[in-house]
């Protein structure tokens, strides 16, 4: 047990990484062997995440140095700079870890039967594992260059998954767009890393933050990093790839790619709060984040309303909901330098923005899965060709309903909890922004209600008389997410206290992150 607790950060990444390359071998023993193996590895990793989470929430930030005599030894004896690669797991990293692991489990379960009878399955599961490793590594790493490597790993695996159905022309196009923006943004990140390294000769985030002088080159690096991560998280005006990629990816993987976008959002927060915190003009940067957030919210929802492709509509809503997260955290960032405002509403605004990440990933993953369940049975994503599906697909209808109400911010579902937190706190900061946020929620509700009536209600269509409910593993995958959506909506206080508040604290507490590595340096 002690061994597991000590080495959990490394094992969480190592185990799925090894499994990814073992899966093609295991597949030779048959389909069920591969399914059991993949689920077992992911289950074991999930329990490691749970062990690490208990540890991080009770004892605080964890540093894991690779190749050191003791994993806690961030600095080698006699050194004043960290020279080894390390993982640094604080509340925010752990929060992302929990989000990613839950989504990965649900996506894996869903995919088991979704893919039945299709070719190339061994590679599909390998890529799922690699994408999972890329995201977890990105969330846990405390090293800039490591961040770049995991970003690229997630991008390559994500592209493979988005373009998985190479027989379809649109799938290949969506995958190509994803790899182009991923490659360009990752190279921007690498250029920024070069700029930072040229001045401070270190790569550790904590050490860089410790030595940060905020010179002209650092400003350039900040611009490059922020631009790259906004592009990866599909913030307007750099969102063009997202509808295409989310639409064409097979259902089990769309939530994974969505989670990858929010891992980039995590990287953006890590850079602005931890790496540059205390040096940048937080009010100005906060306003930039708010403006990107409001633009994403508004343009995303306006583009979503008139879509006839059900997944494309949901993809535009994903952009729009991303705006809420940026709005919440942006408000917190804007008042970071003002202790009074931070205590009265800034902290809660960040809570709302962070809480919305987990809520949105859950209900949007659920919605994408219901959309793909429809596609699985009737072979079209066009809402104009659907109708009366509620008669034969009762569970899918129920899950769609839960997701649609949650995304529109209707109580008692989880979307309401985080949106209320955002409305209330943003109201203190600027009533206009709060009004925009509520208006966007209304349009969201209208848009989802429209699709609900088009697809599920109405007279039975002769073509779909024989349509049956989707297989059980797909229902279980959706069921896990639906249960989370309802649970989080019923007990928002519990969730905020246990996992969201530590994440917010970790973002604000920059010195804690630095001291975990550089604390011993005079």
């Amino acid at each position: 047990m002690d061994f597991l607790t000590t080495h959990a950060p490394a094992l969480i990444v190592a185990l799925p990484l090894l499994a990814a390359f073992a899966i093609p071998l295991v597949s030779r023993a048959g389909h069920s062997a591969r399914s059991i193996f993949s689920l077992a590895v992911l289950g074991a990793t999930a329990s490691l995440v749970a062990i690490l989470a208990v540890d991080v929430y009770s004892t605080g930030i964890r540093v894991y140095t690779f190749g050191a005599t003791l994993p806690e030894m961030a600095l080698p004896a006699g050194y004043t700079v960290p020279v080894r690669i390390m993982f640094q797991v604080d509340g925010m990293s752990m929060f992302m870890g929990i989000v990613i692991t839950t989504v990965a489990l649900a996506a894996m379960l869903y995919s088991l039967q979704f893919l039945k009878g299709q070719s190339g399955q061994p590679r599909f599961y390998s890529l799922m594992m690699l994408l999972y490793v890329g995201m977890m590594g990105l969330a846990f790493t405390g090293d800039m260059f490591n961040m770049f490597v995991f970003l690229e790993l997630a991008s390559i695996a994500g592209t493979g998954l988005a373009a998985y159905r190479t027989g379809m022309a649109d799938a290949v196009e969506g995958g190509f767009k994803y790899i182009v923006i991923s490659a360009v943004s990752a190279l921007m990140v690498l250029f920024a890393i070069g700029l930072l390294y040229s001045q401070y000769n270190v790569l550790s985030i904590a050490a860089l933050a410790h030595y940060m002088e905020y010179s002209m080159l650092d400003m350039m690096a900040l611009g490059l990093l922020a631009g790259a991560f906004v592009m990866k998280l599909a913030g307007v005006p750099l969102h063009m790839w997202a509808p295409d990629t989310y639409t064409v990816a097979p259902a089990g993987t769309t939530p994974m790619i969505l989670a990858a976008s929010y891992t980039s959002m995590y990287a953006l927060y890590r850079v602005t709060f931890t790496l540059y915190g205390g040096h940048i003009d937080t009010a100005a940067i906060g306003w930039i984040v708010i403006i990107v957030g409001v633009l994403s919210m508004f343009i995303g929802v306006m583009m979503a309303v008139h879509q006839t492709d059900i997944k494309r509509m949901m993809a535009y809503h994903a952009i729009s909901q991303g705006g809420y997260m940026l709005l919440g955290v942006g408000v917190g960032l804007a008042v970071l330098a003002d202790p009074v405002a931070l205590a009265s509403y800034g902290r809660d605004a960040i809570n709302g923005g962070v809480f919305h990440i987990i809520n949105h990933v859950f209900y949007k993953a659920l919605l994408f899965m219901t959309a793909e369940a429809i596609f699985f049975r009737i072979g079209t994503r066009d809402t104009n060709k659907m109708g009366g599906l509620a008669r034969n697909m009762k569970w899918t209808t129920l899950f769609y309903g839960i997701g649609a109400l949650a995304i529109s911010g209707i109580p008692p579902f989880n979307g309401f909890a985080s949106k209320l937190l955002i409305y209330q706190t943003v109201l203190n900061f600027s009533p206009v922004l709060s009004a925009i946020a509520m208006f966007v929620s209304l349009v969201t509700l209208a848009s989802f209600a429209k699709v609900f009536y088009a697809a599920f209600t109405g007279p039975e269509m002769p073509a779909y008389r024989e349509v049956r409910e989707v297989p059980r593993s797909m229902l279980i995958g959706m069921g896990i997410l639906a249960a989370c959506v309802v649970f989080f909506g019923l007990f928002p206080g519990l969730i905020v206290d246990t996992i969201v508040a530590p994440a917010t604290e970790a973002l604000i507490n920059q010195t804690g992150y630095i001291d975990a590595v550089m604390g011993a340096v005079p």
Binding site: V149, E152, S155, F176, V180, G194, D244, V248, R312
Partner: protein
């Protein structure tokens, strides 16, 4: 004069980046777009290697260090990693371009485009 010469690789790297971004944004041929990404990757490799260069330095491979400065090893490690990743990304991109060509019979970004709106 020596200062100018020492800064020359950085100027070249920035010029290459500009060319690459121009290609990525404005060229419609998908193969050219892939080439743009390749040039961007090389430009950043050039930038990283020139960061670690020291005039008259020795290669960072000795345990028994000779006199004089040593070239920084870390940027070289970064470059090596980026070259490997770059190869993987370019191969993947070219694979997708081949698939796009098979499906649509064209590699022009506008003509082969299906997803719109």
């Amino acid at each position: 004069m020596e200062q100018v010469l020492l800064n020359f690789p950085f100027v070249a790297a920035v010029l290459l980046m500009g060319i690459a971004l121009y290609i990525i944004v404005f060229k419609r041929n998908l193969i050219k777009l892939v080439m743009g990404v390749a040039i961007l990757s090389s430009a950043i490799n050039l930038f990283l290697v020139s960061l670690g260069y020291r005039v008259g330095g020795v290669a960072p491979i000795y345990t028994d260090v000779p006199e004089g400065p040593m070239v920084l090893p870390v940027p070289q490690a970064l470059t090596l990693t980026n070259i490997v990743i770059g190869v993987a990304v370019l191969a993947l991109m070219l694979t997708l371009v081949v698939h796009i060509y098979r499906h649509t019979g064209d590699i022009d970004a506008e003509k082969s485009r299906i997803l719109k709106g």
